[in-house]
């Protein structure tokens, strides 16, 4: 596995600069908002909007990053190094996937850290409404894992689309777009086709986890495990396919 970690380290190092930049921006926005609140020049709504601004950009950046991490290899000709290595294609792809997931985790960590540091009183206030800190941590982790899984699936779609687009000489953008459509349709199909097989699985409902003290409100997430499992298997299949295509079918430009 040392080869995998070497690839992962390379992908992380390559995106160290934008990651540091985004973390810095997030913290600066928080600090600025904090000062605004302290001086009373911003109402709570404006402050909330300002703080969530980096959170809006984060998924966009991660999406861009999952595409960029591959595109740069081609643009800079380093794909000549990557394709020559005696490693299976899925390892190269997994390293890139893991790198994006780690970058997401770091950004999330920075956001949580910043919130706890700069908005301690507000956090304190929120904790009073919630059923306890243990509850908050447990649900926080659950939400984090759920979002991580979502992110990973999106990255896998992007990776497949990109790799397929590199197998044709022309209309690469169009091919990538079509691959995205086709693969998401395939995953959907996989989900509904395999659903009967997993009918015995219970449906998970996240609504209880989000229910506030005594109040029947909060975010409701229904997780129909039966159809989800099929989709996840489909996505796993796409990932394997991407690895095989990358290792055995992609060519560098003549």
């Amino acid at each position: 596995m040392t080869r995998f970690f070497r690839l992962l380290r390379k992908d992380l190092q390559a995106s160290l600069l934008p990651l540091g930049f985004l973390s810095g921006i997030t913290l600066i926005v928080m600090l600025f908002t904090r000062v605004r609140i302290a001086t009373g020049s911003w109402p709570m709504e404006t402050a909330l909007a300002a703080v969530s601004l980096p959170l809006v950009f984060m998924p966009l950046w991660l999406l861009w990053q999952s595409f960029q991490t591959l595109r740069v290899e081609w643009r800079e000709d380093t794909v000549y190094t990557l394709l020559v290595l005696p490693v299976p294609g899925w390892k190269v792809m997994l390293a890139k996937l893991a790198a994006v997931c780690i970058e997401y985790s770091v950004l999330l960590g920075v956001t949580v850290f910043g919130t706890l540091i700069f908005f301690a009183p507000q956090v304190q206030l929120a904790m009073e409404v919630l059923p306890g800190s243990l509850w908050a941590v447990r649900n926080g982790i659950l939400v984090y894992l759920f979002s991580l899984a979502m992110l990973a699936s999106v990255v896998i779609f992007v990776q497949l689309a990109f790799v397929v687009s590199r197998m044709v000489g022309r209309a690469q953008g169009l091919v990538a777009l079509w691959t995205l459509f086709l693969s998401s349709w395939l995953v959907d199909l996989c989900g509904s086709l395999l659903a009967p097989l997993f009918r015995w699985l219970p449906a998970l409902s996240l609504d209880k986890l989000f229910r506030l003290y005594e109040i029947e409100a909060g975010i409701v997430v229904n997780w129909r495990l039966a159809s989800e499992i099929g989709s996840w298997l489909g996505i796993l299949g796409l990932f394997v396919l991407t690895g095989v295509l990358f290792e055995h079918f992609v060519e560098v430009n003549g």
Partner: protein
């Protein structure tokens, strides 16, 4: 001659790109322990041929046998390939580029690195992006020469670099090449003062082999240098 005498056997290799037929049935046999020059002008198919061997390009037909095996992940581990393009990660330092490559190859000989760095005049702490083209070419060669790979493929290692770097690279190849266990193909379109490197040469002309043989035999037979022969064939 048995298969084990040949490091590489290529038969009837064909490759067509959308716009051009790059290889039109190439046959080639590289004897074990020799350095062969793959010679031809730009666009003659040299690069495509080398890419087919390492697996960067998938041929349309024909056969490639690397030490008796078809191209695969396993043969990638046995080949040291130096592409013509700048394939190094620019943000890495020389040391990082070396460590990165080292971790993927079991035939890596770290003991060679200090000597190679000194010989090539490379500072391990410098960033790849800050090196001159010639220095980057030297680094690319170090990454190949630090391996005890049975087969080395160098694609245009002398093109577009300063004479001093070219001399260092030629000398580096002569010093490090172990003919007992290694074989090498060097492609170039400028034969000039590198022809004394080659045991044998293959002339590639628009995707077909127009002449191949032992370099000394060819000099003897035609009474001409390989460079003069090259000029004559591709005039």
């Amino acid at each position: 001659m048995s298969i084990t005498d040949q490091a590489l056997i290529i038969s009837n290799l064909r490759k067509k790109y959308p716009k051009v037929e790059a290889l039109k049935g190439v046959d080639l046999a590289l004897p074990q322990g020799e350095i062969w020059g793959l010679l031809g002008p730009n666009g003659s198919g040299k690069s495509t041929l080398l890419k087919c061997i390492i697996g960067l390009v998938k041929p349309d037909g024909g056969e490639i046998k690397i030490l008796g095996q078809v191209p695969s992940r396993r043969t990638k581990a046995q080949i040291a390939f130096v592409p013509e393009v700048e394939n190094l990660y620019r943000w890495m330092t020389v040391r990082q580029a070396i460590d990165f490559t080292a971790s993927f190859y079991e035939d890596w000989d770290e003991g060679r690195i200090p000597g190679l760095l000194e010989f090539m005049g490379l500072d391990p702490d410098k960033k790849v992006s800050s090196l001159s083209k010639g220095m980057r070419a030297r680094l690319k060669l170090i990454l190949a020469l630090a391996r005890k790979a049975p087969l080395l493929l160098l694609d245009e290692p002398f093109s577009g670099i300063d004479p001093a770097s070219r001399d260092r690279i030629v000398e580096g190849i002569v010093r490090q090449f172990k003919s007992e266990v290694q074989s090498m193909i060097i492609s170039t379109h400028a034969v000039g003062d590198t022809e004394q490197l080659f045991d044998g040469v293959v002339f590639l002309d628009e995707g077909t082999v127009s002449l191949q043989g032992n370099a000394e035999d060819l000099r003897d037979q035609y009474g001409k240098s390989i460079n003069d022969l090259f000029k004559e064939v591709f005039a």
